[in-house]
Amino acid sequence: MSSSIALHDKTLSELAQGLEAGEYTSRELTEAFLARIERLDGELNSYITLCREDALRDADAADARRAAGNAATLTGVPMAIKDIFCTEGVRTSCGSKMLDNFVSPYDATVIEKLKAEGVVILGKTNLDEFAMGSSNENSHYGAVKNPWDLSAVPGGSSGGSAAAVAAGLAPAALGTDTGGSIRQPAAFCGITGLKPTYGRVSRYGMIAYASSLDQGGPMARSAEDCARLMNVIAGADPRDSTSVVRGVPDYVEGLDYNLKGLKIGLPKEYFGEGLSEEVEASVRAAIKVFEDAGASVQEISLPHTHLAIPTYYVIAPAEASSNLSRYDGVRFGHRCKDPQDLEDLYKRTREEGFGDEVKRRIIIGTHTLSEGFFDAYYIKAQKVRRLIRQDFLDAFDQVDVLMGPAAPTPAFDLGAHKDPLSMYLQDLYTIAINLAGIPGISVPAGLAGKRPVGLQILGPHFGEQTLLGVAHQFQQLTDWHRQRPEFGQEQA
């Protein structure tokens, strides 16, 4: 491994090898990242909470474990966690004023698994409030900036995680993806992000936005790193009834994928109006790389694609309106001062605690679920959802993977979308995947000026191994994932 690469630019796998080889300790690594966060994050705002003391304690424990000879692969590597995963003893805010004072008394299942592996948690990263947004401008803790261009958004809602990884403030992070919130920020920040199949990774302890769509997953600098993280976090969880009981393959082994004969489908609906030329050029160039490596390409149609956004904006807010009713000021979180009576307690607590986008979606959801509208909206949306899912099942009868852009444009400017509806259209290429429950990955595939472009690869249910293998092979043939923003480099 080239030691000329600065620690903060290395991949998780490289850092794990360095630890194993004794090039540095987990404490040294952790201190380096903490110092870098403290130096640079003021400008980026990618972290909400830094876990300095816990991280150093866990780093020492990891070093001891390694010295004792019973370290796991990722023991001692540091990473960041989207502040939507409950972490024992640490504030878990979900980007909301409502949970600004909430210190979780328990660990999410994925956090338990990472801790058992010996991974060191550096801190909790910024996000759109309750994961609602495509730009990370909806956080109670302020917008996150894109390290590639500080005037651009990092994408949402896992924008804090994406920006932190891109800027070298963490080698990897956990994100969640309800309508594209891992893949779109990964694309905007030039990193690799995997949204696993719904049910592959436990949702227990992951604060719910839209339960039937939410899925946690890894965000890192390479497909290999995502595979290593998946090996730790994937699997059925008795505490999550919707997690799927099914054997977990070794995702690292799957990286050795032969592209020869790979059948790629290009959904024509993902290359239509609204797609920026720069993004299209990068995506087509990436697909050429696969063709050169022996893959075949054919056009595919996903005929119900145009219904994905309206369907999503019925189902997700409906579930959100119900999931967010527990924030009532009674048991935890924000409570308004001196409530006059019960109704006043509810109204003012929620008025003060929630931001505009969250309120907007609660109201939409309450409306679509209400008597007289339920059949026209919710039931109809569930029917369309089945059609969208069937589109993908039909497509995967013909091809192994689908490829297209992760987002129609590169990262847009902060404040560019004043109208929520125009913002919703950003998720055109990511949202149907959540409705169908299939996995998707975004890998860096080019630069549009200073801003990265992401190639999205989709697979059938439980096709993560293929996706990671295909993405890894792409990363063996290209070095887009090795590109780093200028931000923070001179201070290395």
Partner: protein
């Protein structure tokens, strides 16, 4: 005008599972507030429900017991509303696709008539917590121990036509759930409570009148009284030219009246939708069949068997089969003593009388079924007479011995049947009471029967109640008559 009463009931039976319906917390009653509330019960962010299979099995068993169609696939939905003791802001329940479909239940009225009441469906749901209004100086305390306790809500068709029928129906439900062992049926602790829908209509009219729903009535007596009050209120209202409004009412047992809680206009829109955190519940035929095989004998079957096999009267059979505890107790007594009629008499007579007097439930009876059976056995084999038996029972009640035999032994209550011994006592009594003997001899033969009672009493007293009364009677009669 002649009025007809129409009543439908929603009975909430708390299921006797070890843990809550969606979490591992204990369901034991009476613990310190909030000591049985886990992160899931508190609705903490990120927590998810996991269905308790025991609750599903109990619901299926109920369905089978009322001959209902058990749904192969049922779905949990969220019923959304805000209340401080509802931690998640919704109650997980079943609406569209409940686990138990239509069934029926036979009720038995006091006059012996039987009637079949249709059950619309029964569904599983979680209970809410409790708001505590005392001891918090103008504030409200919340106890979430009960939150997440599994409930089976049993919804009847509006088939009942009187308060008595309604009570008989709830009693029949009570008997079934306790027989099945799926609920302890303890109404005082809220394990069984019901919402009563009441309306009236002119006799002969087909269309239902507007109904009022009386919430959370928790005793047989209150059900009857609440319905009586509500029926009178509605009839008076209509006869005075008013109209019944559809509303939710509360029964106040202290004032013995129902009061309006909220009208339909203020009613919630619960915004039901399928809970995305829980998969549909699938139960296959083999599972249902397996549960069918494990069903115990149910009240109606038991009642029929008590009549046909044990020769009990219809009344005795229905009383003794009314609750599982009573039936089990009676059957054990019967098995130990071998005499069903004596067992029925003692359980309904001496035992029930004493239990009622001391306000005790049969499952905490100080005299066990084995003890009572042992006692009756000694009556049947004539080891003791009825008089001594009452003494033995009292001694057992007071815990003065392990068994009837032990008490009979220690108190020397064994019936004396040795004729020589009895003759000796009789001779002594005759010798000690010459005046009475003379009176007896001078009396008309038809008056003598009554007079002999005096001598019997003296003999029994002298033998400390142990002499066989029949023998005493016979020996006395022979001796006195032969003297004259």
């Amino acid at each position: 005008m002649q009025w007809e009463v129409v009543i439908g009931l929603e009975v909430h039976a708390q299921l006797a599972t070890q843990s809550k319906i969606f979490s591992g917390s204990s369901t034991t009653y009476g613990a310190e507030p909030n000591t049985q509330a886990s992160a899931v019960d508190l609705g903490l962010p990120g927590t998810l429900p996991v269905l308790n299979e025991q609750a599903v099995a109990m619901a299926v068993r109920f369905g089978l017991a009322v001959n209902a169609a058990v749904a192969g696939r049922s779905v949990f939905e969220r019923k959304n509303y805000f209340y401080p003791d509802l931690p998640k802001g919704y109650q997980t329940s079943q609406m569209d696709q409940p686990i138990v479909g239509p069934g029926e239940l036979e009720i038995l009225l006091e006059d012996g008539t039987r009637k079949s009441i249709r059950i619309h469906h029964a569904h599983l749901e979680e209970d809410a917590g409790k708001s505590l209004h005392e001891d918090f100086q103008g504030m409200t305390g919340i106890d979430l121990n009960r939150a997440g306790t599994p409930l089976l809500e049993i919804v009847s068709e509006p088939d009942m036509r009187s308060a008595k029928e309604a009570v008989a129906y709830v009693k029949a439900i009570h008997a079934i759930v306790t027989y099945l062992g799926i609920s302890d049926g303890n109404m005082a602790e809220g394990s069984l409570r019901c919402d009563v829908n009441v309306s009236v209509r002119p006799k002969g009219q087909e269309a239902f009148g507007t109904r009022a729903e009386i919430k959370n009535v928790n005793s047989f007596r209150f059900i009857e009284r609440a319905i009586h009050f509500e029926v009178e209120r509605q009839i008076e209202l209509i006869e005075d030219g008013g109209k019944v409004v559809q509303e939710t009412r509360l029964y106040d047992p202290d004032a013995d009246e129902t009061r309006s809680m909220r009208t339909k206009e203020e009613a919630n829109d619960y915004r039901y939708f399928p809970c995305p955190d829980l998969l549909p519940v699938e139960v296959d035929e083999a599972y249902i069949e397996h549960l069918r095989q494990t069903l115990p004998e149910l009240p109606a079957e038991k009642r029929a068997r008590f009549e046909s096999e044990l020769g009990l009267s219809a009344y005795d059979a229905s009383v003794l089969s009314a609750s599982r505890e009573m039936a089990d107790f009676f059957e054990e007594v019967k098995d130990v003593c071998g005499d069903a009629k004596q067992a029925a008499n003692w359980v309904q007579g001496e035992l029930t009388g004493r239990l009622n007097k001391e306000n005790l439930d049969i499952n905490v009876s100080p005299v066990s079924a084995a003890q009572l059976g042992g006692l009756i056995k000694r009556i049947v084999d004539e080891t003791i007479n009825g008089k001594a038996a009452k003494q033995v029972f009292a001694a057992l009640w007071d815990g003065e011995g392990e068994s009837a035999d032990e008490i009979i032994e220690s108190r020397g209550l064994k019936q004396v049947t040795d004729s020589g011994a009895i003759e000796a006592v009789v001779d002594q009594v005759i010798a000690d009471n010459p005046a009475q003997v003379t009176q007896y001899q001078e009396a008309e033969p038809d008056k003598r029967g009554k007079m002999i009672g005096f001598f019997v009493g003296q003999v029994m007293k002298a033998s400390r109640g142990t002499a066989n009364p029949q023998q005493v009677n016979k020996v006395l009669k022979d001796k006195l008559d032969s003297l004259s």
